[in-house]
Symmetry: C2
DNA sequence: CGCACCGAATTAAATTGTTTATTTAAAGTT
DNA sequence: AACTTTAAATAAACAATTTAATTCGGTGCG
């Protein structure tokens, strides 16, 4: 870092060199885009009786049944307590069920129920459709670029856990 | 019924023509990226005593004081009840205050307090810093591309509020 | 003037998400 | 074998977000 200029505050300048300004807009931009996506997905998912955030659990379980809450949390990029509660809700809703692991008493295995299995296709459709709507007008290349950039910034953010130095 | 090609599973194919597959990955990708961003921003904002979601309110108010909750909601892309609640918390925290509009009894004007004003700079720094961290390694052009794509998908999603026609 | 309608704000209820702390079981150490 | 440490799941507390329903002031019509 610091190999170039423009790393300073530049608080006094309201010029046109908005190099830093772009980065400033990044957080709001992605926040709002994600909010729109979540809302759209939520609406589409509602037909299956699911909430945004639950779809990923079912989709992953459909690929590999019997994962533990911790594994699911990692796969979905959320914290373990979030997964625990989401699983609890979904279990109450009848989409999945917990089973104790016979070998390791600490582990909980999560399995799709029949009802859960029945939602898989519809969820896939919702997620896919939402993505298509969002990507309307974008070329295939642009979509891939977007995905790549998204992954990059995610990795950047996660590799910098706590940088509270001034 | 109007859908046609690309609706297949194609789960077995790992080829390069993943046109539909890209769009399918869009929702999860942006969701997780936004989650990372939110977490990072939340951590940085914590020093100011704020939570992610509150920053925008202060920043907008710093530009134009006395906006109504509804206006703030639109500007920030959230629904009115969200804004009401956030404003309530922030008022309790002492960052802003509500004042009734003398002319129109239905309106509430939101004003920054001195404490709120004092946080403006720090918030701007946090948001900017977060964006910079997220954008590390990306060229200026890439960042602008990302911003443009983000805006596009946001508009796409919002112009299609509830079109579940088949 | 009274009643219907609209619009802004709020309340209510549901969920995801985070951090911090607690329980419980496995593993490691002495 | 008893104690300590670690790991997984969970519980509790706090915040954001949404939709649906409610309150309340303004406006319009009869």
């Amino acid at each position: 870092m610091s190999k170039k200029k423009g790393d300073k505050k530049a608080k006094s300048g309201k010029k046109k060199e908005l190099e830093g300004l772009s980065a400033t807009d990044l957080a709001p931009a992605i926040t709002q885009a994600a909010r729109s996506m979540r809302t759209a997905l939520s609406r589409s998912l509602g037909e299956s009786g699911l909430y945004a955030g639950q779809d990923g659990v079912i989709l992953i379980l459909a690929e590999e049944d019997g994962m533990t809450p911790g594994q699911l949390a990692i796969r979905l990029g959320v914290k373990a307590p979030t997964m625990t509660r989401t699983i609890g809700r979904m279990e109450a809703q009848g989409f999945l069920e917990r089973r104790a692991d016979g070998t390791d008493g600490r582990l909980t295995k999560v399995h799709l129920t029949e009802a859960g299995l029945r939602t898989v296709e519809q969820i896939g459709r919702s997620v896919s459709e939402c993505g298509s709507i969002a990507a309307k007008g974008l070329s295939d290349k642009e979509i891939r670029t977007l995905l790549k950039l998204l992954k990059t910034i995610e990795q950047n953010l996660q590799s910098e856990p706590s940088d509270d130095r001034g």
